[in-house]
């Protein structure tokens, strides 16, 4: 008997539906509310989870196949990089400050995103978004690991990398990034998706990765180029997920619009503050520069962000509330950050430095309206102090913003000569902010932000008790090795000596 049945030819969409959405079922032994308990408390209304459109339709077999290929490439390159002393191909070892900040602050964020996406990948009661979030969860641990693995070889030769795990939890500036991810993870599942999936991945991630990795390529750091571009290939999926999420939520119910808009306002500003450090990396930390922060912002912020918000206007979404303030800050922020990093460099596990004359010429050309007028004079003054043997150090404690946790070093959006400072009194306590954006975020959820762990008060508690040496021990910072000016540092001496070995016959 001929049992041959003619199989229906299934297209990618139908097949993927059977491989994902069709796996789910309506529970009957427990209520949906019991199995998916966090679906209602944020006020988002979803009527039909099956309306979810899967952007990329990767089944697990394809996922394993393509990801394995990426992994093979990645590890082949970083193995070769380690075996061949690839670090001596760097333009200059001061470049490594950017990587040190990345490892201490951003890689832990990748791990946090891994856990956050695992949680939402469980909590959404729709197979489509669950699978997409789970794939992102497993990708994010990949990113944390490839970054640690790529930087592991730098750690063997250079200072500032060795205590990234301790510094993630204890040193003052990493709490900027960690509070950002903690904030997203402690929010509900929908807000998490808008925070990380949409605002961070879609609106801001290109600003982090693309210029950063081009910068690495320009500066001879093949290990970082490789993890960066390899991670970005996953980001393209993640960004698309972020966009699908927001469309899905907005199409489900008109009542969702004000909630989503509020989250976009909040998370754009949170993300803008966290990624502000990238501006310093691009404008100051790359010995050979790719493009200025301003130029990157024009491409990835103004052009792409503009297109995105024009597209979302049909749902009633407006550009984030802080957009104009961000635009006003673009020509100032990298300088303000770097001046801050330089004066507090005794307390950072990376080096800062005074820009050279050549650097300053580049900065004036890229920032014709701001650099010579506001920032060159300060650098010239600092340079004089250094030349006189009395380098400028600010041992005073930075006043940190209660929301973003950055020192309040920014200026008023409309007056670059005036430091911006805001205060709110809540339940008899006074809280400080760096900007209107951060103050608004606090005032919307004060009960959340009063919980923030602020690293400065910690200085006066056990076991530090106000002793700087004790503090350095507590944050695993090796004074005279990890911190301070790059000029005269061990990293500089070693790099130059090793490069000398490679380029001469001594």
């Amino acid at each position: 008997m001929d049992m041959k049945v003619t199989k229906k030819k299934l297209g990618l969409k139908d097949k993927y539906k059977l491989m994902t959405r069709d796996l789910g079922w309506e529970p009957s032994y427990h209520s949906k509310d019991e199995l998916y308990p966090y679906m209602n408390y944020e006020g988002i209304k979803i009527h039909d989870w099956d309306k979810w459109e899967d952007p990329f339709r990767l089944t697990m077999d394809a996922y394993w196949k393509y990801q394995a290929e990426k992994e093979r490439k990645f590890y082949a390159i970083i193995d070769a990089h380690a075996q061949n002393n690839g670090h001596l191909n760097l333009t200059d070892a001061r470049y490594l400050s950017a990587l040190k900040i990345f490892l201490q602050a951003i890689s832990p964020g990748e791990y946090a995103a891994h856990r956050g996406f695992a949680r939402v990948g469980r909590e959404f009661p729709g197979v489509g978004p669950q699978v997409a979030c789970q794939m992102q969860a497993i990708d994010e641990i990949r990113h944390a690991q490839t970054q640690i693995h790529a930087m592991s070889n730098y750690n063997r030769y250079y200072n500032g990398f060795h205590a990234f795990a301790d510094q993630r939890d204890r040193i003052w500036y990493t709490s900027v990034a960690r509070s950002f991810f903690d904030d997203a993870m402690s929010a509900g599942p929908f807000e998490f998706m808008i925070a990380i999936g949409f605002s961070f991945e879609y609106v801001l991630t290109n600003l982090l990765f693309v210029p950063f990795m081009s910068g690495a390529a320009y500066n001879g750091d093949m290990a970082t180029v490789t993890f960066g571009f390899s991670a970005q290939s996953d980001e393209a999926r993640h960004m698309t997920l972020g966009l699908e999420v927001i469309k899905f939520i907005l199409e489900q119910d008109p009542d969702n619009l004000p909630i989503v808009q509020n989250w976009i306002d909040k998370w754009f500003w949170r993300g803008f503050r966290v990624l502000g450090l990238v501006s310093t990396m691009m404008d100051y930390m790359l010995p050979k520069r790719v493009m200025s922060w301003r130029e990157a912002w024009d491409i990835y912020g103004v052009e792409n962000g503009g297109a995105l918000f024009k597209d979302l206007a049909r749902y009633g979404i407006k550009p984030p509330k802080g957009w104009d303030d961000a635009e006003k800050a673009i020509d100032h922020m990298s300088h303000q950050f770097m001046l801050g990093l330089y004066q507090w460099s005794f307390g950072t596990a990376f080096h800062a430095w005074i820009p050279s004359d050549d650097d300053m010429r580049w900065l004036s050309a890229k920032y014709p309206d701001t650099f010579d007028q506001y920032y060159r004079p300060r650098w010239e003054h600092i340079k004089k102090l250094a030349a006189a043997g009395t380098p400028f150090k600010n041992y005073g404690l930075a006043k940190l913003c209660q929301t973003c946790q950055l020192p309040t070093v920014f200026t008023e959006p409309d007056d670059p000569t005036l430091t911006c400072h805001r205060e709110t009194v809540y339940k008899g306590e006074k809280y400080h902010f760096c900007s209107d954006g951060c103050q608004h975020i606090f005032e919307n959820e004060p009960e959340k932000y009063i919980q923030a762990w602020l690293p400065m008060p910690q200085l006066f508690q056990d076991p530090v008790n106000g002793d700087l040496g004790e503090w350095m021990k507590w944050v695993s910072l090796l004074d005279g090795k990890d911190n301070g000016d790059y000029a005269g540092s061990e990293d500089q001496k070693n790099f130059e000596a090793w490069r000398g070995l490679a380029t001469t016959n001594q």
Partner: protein
Amino acid sequence: MQIDLRTVAIQPQRQAFDHLVRRFGDKAASRYQEGSYDIQAAENLHYRPTWDPDHQLYDASLTRIVMADWYALKDPRQFYYSTYTLTRARQQETAEANFSFVESRGLADMLPDAQRAVALNVLVPLRHAAWGANQNNTTVCGYGYGVVFTQPCMYHAMDNLGVAQYLSRLGLLLGDTEALDAGKKAWMDDATWQPLRRYVEDCLACRDPFELFVAQNLALDGLLYPLVYERIVDQHLSAQGASAVAMLTQFMSDWFDETRKWVDAVIKVAAAESEANRAVLTEWIRQWSARAASAMVPVVELALGSGADEAVGEQLEAFKARVLKTGITL
């Protein structure tokens, strides 16, 4: 000028990251160690979850199991993303080759009707159980404590999804979309499947990550995989001339052999930690495995008929012997 950097012999300043030196001594660390140990934030967490303000963002007290160091629960396979993905990519190639072998030679069409029916009736509804397993392992990864414990659960969850997808392809190959529809209907409504579906839904309601690990990965899968893939597919169906089915489920058999070693290692270390842990684990394993065994009886009956009780009974004995090796007497 490209400089020849290989010729430079320079002395490294240190061997490994500080936290790994503290754990493993002053020597080069493995990539598994670098990618797994202490990479979860441990101190000074900023905010309480708005969805569970009584706990911290990472909170070891979400489970009744107590560990002095959660990083003791090492994965013997030492899977980090890369080794995990490369392993599965290889298995995926084999699975692909098996599927295309069965398809290209028309082996699916040559299956005797009775055996095809058994394969479809038993295996297709299990794609839903595998989806349940995926969600349960995602829960453990999301809410468990310590990377060496949670990381493999994410890999396991993706594997569960892979299994659900291979079962779906098997259903399509042997019975087209009608088979998937029939399987889902059975999962929802047939009396045969209700104890198992209830078990899976009870797991979905369980929010103790370690208990869930026990209920899903040890108790249920520890009975389901050997019963279904060894006894029913590899032995029963193959003996009746339907070994093509075994080719389509080779991934599941190999996967179970590999992953059970990890599951056992986790249980063994957790049980050895304290008498209290051992008592909690014993209680959980007893309860969940008894329920899993009785939920499996009607499923196994679909293939083995009246031999189901005996098969499940034997498997339960083998399961007890397996658990005994982890230091737990049931």
